[in-house]
């Protein structure tokens, strides 16, 4: 790991100021993705701006018909939140599926979303629920936020402070875990909130998380696994590596979507 300067601001404003003075700097949240990448020298920020001491960035609360999660809330705390488990257990299951217990004790929702790893779990939940990503500058709809592999709509100096998830009556996440890394080989999040039906897929697309409009259309008649029986998605645009072919990933999208629908209706 190349060296850097280390900063611990106590307000979001200070953090943004530090970023503007250190254009090659990066925000440090839980560090469970960033530090490994820095060790491999795939990233070498000149400065790290640690948000750990910034107050008001953690917690899970109910606000009207949404659940709002502070960007620095750790995966374990989101997974165990009684507020979330009561309001939307399908979302609570997502951080519970990330990494391993020690990673869940450190990793945060804001970090995961800002990183937008093409195999990460949270991007599927954000897109699959139509979440709003709240930053120090604006509110960004999940549909506009994830712009490709490891890339987001975040501008320089922009910091995620909260994520707001509208409560869906029915939602669920199904993931085919890579047996060694624990990342999603493919993960599918499905939700139904009134007429709004969403099917979001992580791990499969070579351009990161995406929605399956053909599935969503078919589910409008009835939100059930049967409605997408026999439907497939093309293998073009799917990831291909030593772990799984593009065809296999495309196949898994259908299988996991059906499983997620069964779970959401259970």
């Amino acid at each position: 790991m190349y060296n850097f300067t280390f900063h611990r601001p106590t307000t979001v404003r200070q953090a943004a100021g530090l970023l503007s003075r250190n254009p090659e700097g990066k925000i440090l949240a839980g560090g469970q993705s960033l530090l490994p990448v820095m060790k491999q020298r795939l990233a070498s920020p000149s400065a790290l701006v640690d948000l750990a001491l910034v107050e008001g960035m953690t917690g899970v609360e109910l606000k009207g018909r949404s659940v709002v999660i502070g960007a620095m809330t750790r995966h374990a705390d989101v997974a165990n939140s009684t507020v979330l488990q009561e309001a939307m257990p399908g979302l609570a299951a997502v951080p519970g599926a990330v990494g391993d217990p020690q990673v869940r004790n450190r990793g945060t929702i804001g970090g995961s979303i800002a990183n937008n790893d093409p195999n990460a779990d949270y991007p599927a939940a954000c897109l699959g629920l139509g979440a709003t990503i709240i930053t120090n500058k604006r509110r960004i709809a999940a549909d506009d936020f994830f712009t490709g592999m490891f890339s987001t709509a975040l501008e320089d100096g922009e910091i995620i402070t909260k994520v707001s998830f509208p409560i869906a009556k029915k939602c669920a996440y199904e993931k085919f875990k890579h047996p060694a890394s624990g990342f999603a080989l493919v993960g599918v999040f499905v939700s139904k909130r009134g007429p709004d039906i969403r099917v979001a897929v992580t791990g499969a697309g070579s351009n990161g998380v995406f929605r399956v409009k053909t599935f969503e259309e078919a589910l409008k008649k009835r939100f059930a696994a049967k409605s997408i029986e026999g439907l497939t998605i093309p293998a073009t645009g799917m990831n291909e590596d030593i772990h799984a072919s593009a065809e296999y990933r495309a196949h898994l999208v259908g299988v996991l979507a059906r499983r997620a629908l069964a779970k959401a209706n259970a």
């Binding site: 790991m1 190349y2 060296n3 850097f4 300067t5 280390f6 611990r8 440090l28 560090g31 469970q32 530090l35 490994p36 820095m38 060790k39 790290l48 640690d50 750990a52 990494g99 391993d100 217990p101 020690q102 990673v103 004790n105 450190r106 060694a180 890394s181 624990g182």
Partner: protein, 166 residues
């Protein structure tokens, strides 16, 4: 060079470190607490697990500077030198939960975190699932799982807390 202060196994410590110094390096190289191991150095194996403010974390994936003001517990903090072992350590000895021993400190620190989160009555499935972040290349896990179940029970009997005394 930045300076960092924290409490390690109940003792206040201070050291000058580079910003990039990992917690595990600080523990092993500055403090000479070599019970915490570096196995994979890629957050996979769990040989480096310690408790930061009572919560298990991989010290190879944490910067020393992130632990400014924190309370750290390592394997060395579980029992007095020459005193009786912590019930979880004793259970690993009793049930032969180790062969080469390299993963053992991390296994024990992870085991205590499982007790913290899941209580003292642990079934095999829970233990195996919760050991997701700890690798052992000798034992096949069988005796580790037995040791953790027994250690968790022994802790309830003896009233030992899942977080070591400071």
């Amino acid at each position: 060079m930045p300076s960092v202060s924290m409490t390690v196994n109940g003792k206040p410590v201070t050291g000058d470190v580079e910003a990039r110094t990992l917690l595990v390096q600080f523990l092993r190289e500055n403090l000479r607490l070599t019970g915490t191991h570096v196995g994979c150095d890629t957050s996979q194996c769990g040989a480096c697990v310690v408790h930061i403010d009572g919560i298990a974390a991989k010290s190879c994936t944490t910067l020393a500077l992130q632990c400014e003001g924190a309370k750290i517990t390592t394997i060395e903090g579980l029992a007095e030198p020459n005193g009786p072992l912590h019930p979880m350590q004793e259970a690993f000895r009793e049930h032969h939960g180790l062969q080469c021993g390299y993963c053992t400190p991390g296994m024990i620190m992870a085991a205590l975190d499982i007790v913290r989160r899941k209580g003292n009555d642990l079934d095999e499935h829970t233990i195996r699932e919760q050991l997701d972040g700890n690798l052992c290349r000798c034992t096949g896990y069988h005796n580790i799982v037995k040791a953790i179940a027994a250690g968790a029970k022994a802790m309830a009997k003896g009233g030992a807390p899942a977080q070591a005394a400071e």
